[in-house]
Structure formats: structure tokens, C-alpha cells
């Protein structure tokens, strides 16, 4: 039995919106990072679903790329958070605003 592609899209949309909601509302940098992961994975779901739908492997390939990218992003992100904590004794993303101008 195969699931219709629109359900995958709906799932991906839901995951993306949860991630987006997290990015917009959370102030904790770790949750922030997790929300970003959710959004990336929403994109991955889409890519794989359509790859399956079209019978084309390129989408899956891209999903692999995205995973690797996400891993790198997490590494860098965690590094930033660590430095953030060291400098501000806090991981609230609204606190460090001194670098804007």
C-alpha cells in the first residue's frame, strides 16, 4: 500500500510550521537550533517524498546532502552557543544585540 504524496506534504508542512513557530517564539538558543533542525527535516521529507513520487533519485541525494549540512550546522551552531554562553552567561538569543551596527 502506498501513501498518497499529499499526506507527506501535509506532514512536512506541519513539521515546518512547528519549526517556524519555535524559531519565532523561543528565546533559548538550543530550542532555536532544534527548531531549525525541524525545518530542515521538513524539507527532507518533501525531497524524499517527491523523489519517490517521481521515481528519481536526485531528491534523495539532496536529502543526504541536507543531512550532512544539518550536522555541520549543528556543530557550528553549538559552537556559537557555547561562545554565546561564555560571553553572556546566558543562551537567550535576544540578549546579544551589540553586533548589529
Amino acid at each position: 500500500m502506498t501513501v498518497d504524496v499529499q499526506y507527506y506534504v501535509l506532514l512536512s508542512m506541519a513539521v515546518f510550521c512547528i519549526g517556524l513557530f519555535g524559531v519565532l517564539t523561543r528565546r533559548n538558543a538550543l530550542l532555536f537550533l532544534m527548531s531549525v533542525e525541524l525545518m530542515l527535516n521538513a524539507a527532507n521529507i518533501n525531497l524524499i517524498a517527491f523523489a519517490f513520487y517521481h521515481g528519481n533519485l536526485t531528491g534523495q541525494l539532496f536529502a543526504l546532502f541536507t543531512m550532512a549540512l544539518a550536522a555541520a550546522e549543528v556543530a557550528v551552531g553549538l559552537g556559537i552557543i557555547l561562545v554565546l554562553y561564555r560571553n553572556f552567561r546566558d543562551i537567550d538569543v535576544t540578549v546579544p544585540t551589540t553586533m548589529r551596527w
Binding site: L20, V23, L24, T25, R27, F32, V93, T94, P96, T97, T98, M99, R100, W101
Partner: protein, 683 residues
């Protein structure tokens, strides 16, 4: 007899080149030379004099010389009269006029160089190599100006003598006054040269040539244009010739210190007296008048221009003479008398009296150089005191100076038989006969005539105050002795001032009916000449009617001569009664209100200084303020506005990541909606 043999004329360029070599040598090695660099200058000017004399003799032998030495540049340029190319060259034109002037200039230059040995070297001045180098450069420029064969070359060297004048007036640059006077001299003459340069450019653009002589000269081209009734730059040819002639005249008025550009010359007396003698009396100031004589054929085409020259000349002669009456400084008196005498030359040339003008130029060069060098000798005697009220009684202590100075004074005042009488009388006679038909020129004549009285007066006031009476200061009682280097030039010039008048005794010639007007023959092409550059040719061109008094030319002449001699004697006699007393006093109350007017030079300096400092400078400052506030304000305003608006716009960058994310999402949604609307989703 318009021959153009090369022969001795091949050496002509050397006349100017020798002093140039002296300039370079003195400039580079002056410090190491004996006499602090005087010798190269003396040798060079002696060489120039020698070659000039050879030229003079050659012209006397019936030859003339006109050649192009070097092409400065040439090119295509469509002129108004049809020529389609133009060449700007350096050339030599040796004709009676320039040969005469070359002799005058090189002779005076040589004498001044020698005199400088006594005046500058003996007085232990510093910076003498500079002095002699500048003298050399001046002599070079002046001589090259004299033999220039075209207007542009004349202009170039005209400017160069202006530079030398600037440098030499400012010789004592460590004072406050000398640099200021030098600046004023250059600026005032530059103002005149501005018009001159327009004139040169206009003539070149109109006729496609700037040559003085021959078929290719602008004079010939102008004559043709007038005959053809051509239209030049929107004017008829006659008017255009007048306009360009008057533009060139601007430079003449500046250099020859004619009203209203005369104010620089009295200030120029800040320079060493030798410089005053050479540059500001005998030669450079003569450059203006010489230029009028040089291109007389051009002015002869325009009666209007000639009348203006005559009127300015007559006015300046009187105007300057009145100011000379009240001066205390011996050099100042001479300066005003120089202005006045050049006024006479302008008057003479302006009425078509080419011979009279040149004759006065010749005589004036000698007697004024003599008077200035005499004044220099007096200044040495007086330990650099120039105020005549502190002198007196020098007659017996310095007889050579006295008698030579007296010869110069008699010539200046115009007392028969000294040189000045003959030429001044001829100028006034020429003015009178034209004036009888032309009211403007009659007015000019009248002013010139009145000026004769003042000339006699101030000249002898100067002589009496300086040499007669009792000594009025300690230095006057025990003057500093003067050496041979001072006496020899004085004696040479004294003799010349006495006798040069004899070369053109027109009244005597008329009365006795003998051919002794040698200068007239000289300028008229009796000897060598260049076609079209003779008194004869000019006289035919000048369109002035001549009148006589009592129906006889001889009567008119005698009347004129008697009148001017009588006035000169009256002036001298007045000075005698007022000042030839043991203890002379100032007589300023006799002049009443006029005294302060004269002492202040008719406030001419004031208005010119006002023009420079009271008008131009504030205008410049206002322009600067405008530039800084308005123009630069707009430029800076542009950046200020950008900065200001960016200051507002940057506020949306809060630095809070969440806000950025919200903006991103909002922007994306807005973009989606817009695209959707355009794509017709909501239709």
C-alpha cells in the same frame, strides 16, 4: 633703397644673445666672479652696443634687415580675412627705428652696468650676482623686444621685461615695501597686458599674421581689409582696427605708465636707483611708446585710436607734472616727471608726429637716465638719504654731479638749446597744427602746454633744493665721495643730453632753410628702410587735417616754440624765487586745498587699492563662502542626507534573531500574496 643684405646684419641676434649669456653665466657662477658678477654684464652690453652701432652704421649705409630666425609654432587656423594658416615666429627687424632704439638701450644699459659698480658694489650690497643676472636678463629681453619683427614676439619680450622689472624692483626683498611695490608694478602692467594679449589674439585671428613689416604684415592686411570694406568679427574693418588697436594700447598704457595705469611707476622707485634709471626711465617704460611707433602704420589707419592716444598723452603729461610739484623725495619727482614725459611722446605719436615722438623718446632716454643716475650719485653722497629737504648746498661739494645733473634738468625743462627743448617743441608744434582743426587734440595740446610750466617748476625746485642753498643736514655738509664708476656715466650722459637735440632742429631748419633735420631723414627712409615703415608712408596714411596760425607755418612754429620756451622759463623762474634761497621753506599754504589732493596723487592709488582690496578681495571671500556653504554644502548635504536616512532605516536591524526571522517570514508571505495577486489567484 629697401635692401635686405645680410652682411653685418647676420650678427643682429647676438645683440640680445650676449646679455642672455651674461645672465646665465652670472646666475650660475656669479659668486665666484670678480666684481660679484658685474663683468659679464659689462662685457656683454659693451658687445651689444658695438653690434648695435654696426647695425646703425649699416642702416645708415642704406640697408635694412628683416628675417625670420626661428619658427615657434605654425598651424592651420582660418582667419577672418581668408588666410587659412598661421605661423608664429621669432624674427629680426632692423630698420631705422629699431637700430636707433638698439643703440639707446644698449648704451644706457652699459652705462648703468658701469654705474652699478659705484652704486651697488662700492656700497657693499648683498645679493649682487642676482642683481647683475637680472640686469642681464632685462637687457636681453628689452633688446629682443626692440628688434622683434612681429607682434607676438614683441608681446613675449614685453612680458619678460615686466618680469625683470618685478624682480629688480623687489631686489631688496627683505623689506616690506619693495616686494609690495614690485607686486603692484607687475599687477598694474599685467592689467594692461590683459588687453594687449586680447589685441594680439584678435589681430592674429583676424588677419592670420602678426608680422610688423612687409607684404605679410597685419598692417598691410588691415589696409586691404579697409579698402575692401570687409566685415571683421561683425564690425566694419575700420572699427575693428580701432578696437584691436585700442586693445594693444592697453599694454602700452600699462608699460609706459600712462593714466590710469601710471600708479605703479612712483612705487617702483623702491628698487635700486640704477634700476630706476635703466628700466623705469630710459628703456622699459619706453617699450610702450616704442610699440606704438613700431606699429604706427596700424594706428595711422584709425584716427579715433590716434586721437585717444593723443588725448591720454596730453592729459597724463599735465596730470603727472602737477603731482611732481609737491614731492619731497628726489626719486619721486623724477618718477612723476617720467610719466609726464611719456605723456608727451604719446601726444606726439597720437597727432601723427612720428618723428617728434621718437625724437622725444631718444632725448628722454638720455636725459632721464642722466637725472636718475645723478639722483643716484646724490643718494650716495647723502648716505642713502632721498629727502630733498635734508639736502642743499651740494653744488660746490660735488661739481661733476651738479653740472651733469643741471644739464639733464635743463633738457627736461625744455630750455634751449638742451635736447629736451627741441623734441618737446616739435611734439607741441605737431599737436598744435592738428589741434587747430580738431578740438580734442587742441585740448590735448593745451594740457601739454600747461604741463611745460609745471615741468620747469618742479625740475628747478628739485635742482635748487638739492644743490643750492645751505646744507640742511649733517650728511649734506660732509657728503660721501663718489668714484669714477659714477662720474664717467654721468659725464657721457651729460654730453648726450646736451647735444642729442641737435640731430633734429626743425625750427632752425625751417628758419634758415637748411637740411639739418637728420632724424626725420633717418626715419623717412633717406638711408636704409623697410617698405611701409617710414615716416613718409605713415604721414600719407594719417587722416588728420593740418592748420596754421596767421597763414604761415613759420609763424605758427615760432609762436609754438616761443610759448613753450616762455612757459618753461616761467616755471624755472618761479622755482628760483621760491626755492633758490639759503633757507628754503615749504610753500604748501599757497596751494590751499589742492596741496593735499596733489600730495595724495589725486587719490589714484586709493581707488586702485580699493579696487584690489576693498572690492576684489571681499568678492573673492564671498565667492569662497558661497563655495564652502552652498556648493560644498550640497555635496556634503548629499552625504548627510544618506547618513541621516540610513540612521532611520538601520533601526529595523534590532540585533534580535527572532525579529529577523519574523521579517523573513512576513516578507515571504507578502511576496507570495503579491505574486499570487498578480498571478490571478484571487480573481
Amino acid at each position: 633703397m629697401a635692401a635686405t643684405a645680410t652682411g653685418p646684419f647676420g650678427f643682429a641676434p647676438a645683440i640680445a644673445v650676449l646679455p642672455l649669456v651674461a645672465f646665465v653665466v652670472t646666475l650660475l657662477f656669479g659668486k665666484h666672479l670678480p666684481k660679484k658678477g658685474a663683468l659679464p654684464g659689462i662685457i656683454a652690453t659693451a658687445g651689444s652696443l658695438l653690434i648695435s652701432l654696426v647695425m646703425f652704421v649699416a642702416v645708415g649705409g642704406g640697408n635694412a634687415y628683416h628675417t625670420t630666425l626661428y619658427e615657434w609654432t605654425a598651424g592651420a587656423a582660418a582667419s577672418e580675412t581668408g588666410a587659412d594658416g598661421v605661423a608664429f615666429t621669432f624674427g629680426v627687424l632692423i630698420d631705422p627705428l629699431s637700430a636707433l632704439m638698439l643703440v639707446i638701450v644698449s648704451l644706457v644699459a652699459l652705462l648703468v652696468h658701469v654705474f652699478s659698480l659705484g652704486y651697488m658694489n662700492a656700497e657693499g650690497e648683498t645679493g649682487l650676482p642676482r642683481y647683475y643676472a637680472e640686469l642681464g636678463l632685462f637687457t636681453f629681453s628689452m633688446l629682443a623686444f626692440v628688434f622683434a619683427d612681429n607682434l607676438l614676439m614683441a608681446f613675449m619680450f614685453f612680458e619678460l621685461v615686466g618680469l625683470c622689472s618685478y624682480l629688480l624692483i623687489g631686489f631688496w626683498f627683505r623689506t616690506e615695501s619693495a616686494p609690495s611695490a614690485a607686486k603692484k608694478a607687475f599687477l598694474v602692467t599685467r592689467f594692461g597686458d590683459y588687453f594687449f594679449l586680447i589685441g594680439v589674439v584678435a589681430i592674429a585671428a583676424t588677419f592670420g599674421t602678426v608680422g610688423f613689416a612687409g607684404e605679410g604684415s597685419f598692417v598691410t592686411a588691415a589696409e586691404t581689409a579697409i579698402d575692401d570694406g570687409a566685415t571683421l568679427f561683425g564690425f566694419d574693418a575700420q572699427t575693428w582696427v580701432t578696437i584691436t588697436g585700442l586693445l594693444v594700447l592697453g599694454g602700452v598704457l600699462g608699460k609706459s605708465a600712462q593714466f590710469p595705469f601710471h600708479t605703479w611707476l612712483p612705487d617702483a622707485m623702491e628698487g635700486p636707483t640704477t634700476v630706476s634709471a635703466l628700466i623705469h626711465a630710459a628703456t622699459m617704460v619706453a617699450a610702450g611708446v616704442y610699440l606704438v611707433a613700431r606699429m604706427f602704420g596700424y594706428y595711422a589707419l584709425s584716427p579715433t585710436a590716434l586721437s585717444i592716444i593723443a588725448f591720454v598723452g596730453g592729459f597724463t603729461a599735465l596730470f603727472a607734472a602737477t603731482m611732481g610739484v609737491v614731492k619731497d623725495d628726489v626719486k619721486q619727482v623724477l618718477a612723476y616727471s617720467t610719466i609726464s614725459q611719456y605723456g608727451y611722446m604719446m601726444l606726439g605719436l597720437g597727432v601723427g608726429g612720428y618723428v617728434a615722438g621718437v625724437f622725444h623718446l631718444l632725448n628722454h632716454a638720455f636725459f632721464k637716465a642722466l637725472l636718475f643716475l645723478g639722483a643716484g650719485a646724490v643718494i650716495v653722497l647723502m648716505h642713502h638719504e632721498q629727502n630733498m629737504w635734508k639736502m642743499g648746498g651740494l653744488k660746490d661739494k660735488a661739481p661733476v654731479t651738479y653740472y651733469t645733473f643741471l644739464a639733464g634738468a635743463l633738457a627736461l625743462a625744455g630750455i634751449v638749446p638742451f635736447s629736451g627743448f627741441w623734441s618737446k617743441d616739435e611734439v607741441l608744434f605737431d599737436a598744435l597744427i592738428i589741434g587747430l582743426e580738431q578740438p580734442v587734440i587742441l585740448a590735448a595740446y593745451a594740457m601739454g602746454l600747461v604741463a611745460v610750466f609745471f615741468t620747469g617748476f618742479y625740475t628747478f625746485r628739485m635742482v635748487f633744493l638739492t644743490f643750492h642753498g645751505e646744507p640742511r643736514s649733517e650728511t649734506a655738509e660732509d657728503p660721501h665721495p663718489v668714484g669714477w664708476a659714477i662720474k664717467v656715466p654721468l659725464i657721457v650722459l651729460g654730453i648726450l643730453a646736451t647735444v642729442t637735440g641737435l640731430v633734429n632742429m626743425a625750427p632752425v631748419a625751417k628758419l634758415l632753410n637748411v637740411d639739418i633735420t637728420f632724424l626725420e631723414f633717418w626715419l623717412d627712409g633717406e638711408y636704409g628702410y623697410v617698405e611701409g615703415l617710414t615716416y613718409h608712408a605713415y604721414h600719407e596714411t594719417v587722416a588728420f587735417e593740418e592748420g596754421v596760425i596767421g597763414g604761415s607755418e613759420t609763424t605758427t612754429m615760432l609762436l609754438s616754440a616761443g610759448l613753450s620756451l616762455g612757459l618753461a622759463l616761467a616755471g624755472a623762474f618761479t622755482a628760483h624765487t621760491l626755492y633758490n634761497v639759503p633757507e628754503p621753506t615749504r610753500h604748501m599754504q599757497k596751494l590751499g586745498g589742492a596741496y593735499s589732493l596733489l600730495r595724495n596723487n589725486y587719490y589714484q592709488d586709493e581707488y586702485q587699492v580699493w579696487l584690489a582690496q576693498g572690492f576684489t578681495l571681499p568678492l573673492a571671500r564671498a565667492a569662497d563662502r558661497f563655495d564652502q556653504t552652498v556648493i560644498d554644502g550640497i555635496v556634503n548635504g548629499t552625504s548627510t542626507v544618506s547618513l541621516f536616512s540610513s540612521n532611520w532605516v538601520k533601526r529595523i536591524q534590532t540585533g534580535i534573531v527572532t525579529n529577523y526571522a519574523a521579517l523573513l517570514v512576513g516578507g515571504f508571505i507578502a511576496l507570495l500574496l503579491v505574486l499570487g495577486y498578480l498571478g490571478g489567484w484571487f480573481a
